[in-house]
C-alpha cells in the first residue's frame, strides 16, 4: 500500500518529548496526505512511505544538546537510509535540530543569542523556491509563520556558509531585521546538497488554518505533499 486514495503516505515520527506531531499530522492530512504517526523505537518506515516528517518538541528532554540523543533512535537508522536513497525528509524545529545532529543537514543549532525562548509569528523570505519544500512559493516571497524555540540559533562557519549559499541550499531566511534568535546570515531553513532533506525552525504546521492567523505554512507542507505525490508517481 503506497497511498490511500491517492493520498501520499507521510509518516510523522514521535520521539519521547515530541509535542507537535499531532499538529503536523493534522496539517498534512488537511493538505491531502495520509500521515500516520510512527514511534521512535520502530526499526522501519511504513511500506510505501513517500516522505517523512520529524516534528517539533523536546525529544529526550533536550539533554546534552537538542537532538543529540534522538538521532540514535532506532527509527533514525531507517530515516537516514531513506534520506540517503533520495527520500524526502522534513525536520521542523526539534526535527531540524535532530537532522543537523545526525549529519543529514549542515550546520548546528545553538541557544538563542537572547537566551530567551521566543514564541511569535516571524516574517520570512523564501530564498529558494526550486526545492520540494518550497515549490508552492516564489523566490523572494514573504511568509509569516510562527517560531517557538530556545535553541534556534543556526550556526555555520564562514566557509560552510559560503558553500551553502553558492549551492542555493539556504531556502528560507528571516526577513531583514526580524531574526528572532541570532542565526548566522538570518538562516531559518536549509536543505542538504541533494535537496531532498530540509529543516526549518519556524512551524508551518501551526500556520495552515485561517482561524490561527497565517496560512503560509500550508505553502511549505503543501509543497512537500506535492513532491511526495510526484515521487510516488515516479516510483510506479
Amino acid at each position: 500500500m503506497s497511498s490511500v486514495g491517492g493520498r501520499p503516505l507521510i509518516p510523522v515520527v514521535v520521539f519521547p518529548g515530541s509535542n507537535d506531531d499531532r499538529d503536523a499530522a493534522r496539517a498534512l492530512e488537511l493538505l491531502g496526505a495520509e500521515a500516520p504517526r510512527v514511534w521512535h523505537t520502530d526499526e522501519s518506515l511504513p511500506a510505501g512511505t513517500a516522505a517523512v516528517v520529524l516534528p517539533g518538541g523536546f525529544s529526550y528532554g533536550d539533554y546534552l544538546r537538542c537532538g543529540a540523543i534522538a538521532r540514535f533512535s532506532p527509527i533514525m537508522r531507517a530515516v537516514t537510509t531513506f534520506a540517503n536513497d533520495g527520500g524526502l525528509v522534513l525536520g521542523i524545529c526539534n526535527g531540524f535540530q535532530i537532522l543537523t545532529e545526525a549529519g543529514l543537514l549542515p550546520g548546528a543549532l545553538r541557544p538563542n543569542a537572547s537566551l530567551s525562548f521566543v514564541c511569535r509569528d516571524v516574517p520570512l523570505t523564501v530564498a529558494a523556491a526550486d526545492t520540494p519544500f518550497t515549490s508552492r512559493c516564489e523566490a523572494g516571497q514573504d511568509l509569516t509563520i510562527p517560531v517557538k524555540h530556545g535553541d534556534g540559533c543556526w550556526f555555520a562557519d564562514e566557509e560552510l556558509l559560503a558553500e551553502l549559499e553558492a549551492a542555493d541550499q539556504i531556502a528560507l531566511r528571516y526577513a531583514e531585521g526580524a531574526n528572532p534568535n541570532g542565526a548566522v546570515a538570518d538562516v531559518a531553513g536549509v536543505t542538504n546538497a541533494d535537496g531532498n532533506v530540509f529543516g526549518l525552525m519556524p512551524h508551518p504546521e501551526h500556520a495552515v488554518d485561517p482561524l490561527l492567523g497565517s496560512t503560509d505554512g500550508a505553502l511549505i507542507l503543501g509543497s512537500l505533499v506535492d513532491a511526495a505525490r510526484l515521487s510516488l508517481a515516479a516510483a510506479v
Partner: protein, 80 residues
C-alpha cells in the same frame, strides 16, 4: 578508571551563556575580560589502560558527547 571530558564552545562561536555570566560577574564587581561556559562529563570506564581509555573517550566525544562543528573537548584523567 575515571576520566573527565571538558567540552567547550569553540573560539568564535557565540556563547550567550558565557556573556550572561560575564555581565553578572561585572555587576558583582569582579573585573573579568571574558567568560565562556562549557560542560563537563565524568565517565567511569571499565578499563585501567590509559591509552585504551583515551581512544574510547575520543570515540564517545566524536559520536555523542560533542558536536565537532561547534565544540572542542579535552580529556583529563583522575590523579593525572
Amino acid at each position: 578508571m575515571r576520566a573527565t571530558v571538558l567540552v567547550r564552545p569553540k573560539p568564535g562561536i557565540l556563547d550567550p551563556q558565557g556573556q550572561a555570566v560575564e555581565t553578572s560577574l561585572r555587576h558583582l564587581g569582579f573585573e573579568v575580560a571574558d567568560t565562556r561556559v562549557g560542560r563537563l562529563v565524568d565517565v567511569e570506564l571499565q578499563t585501567d589502560d590509559r591509552d585504551e581509555a583515551r581512544a574510547l573517550l575520543e570515540r564517545m566525544c566524536e559520536q555523542l558527547l560533542t558536536n565537532p562543528l561547534i565544540e572542542s573537548y579535552e580529556i583529563e584523567f583522575a590523579g593525572a
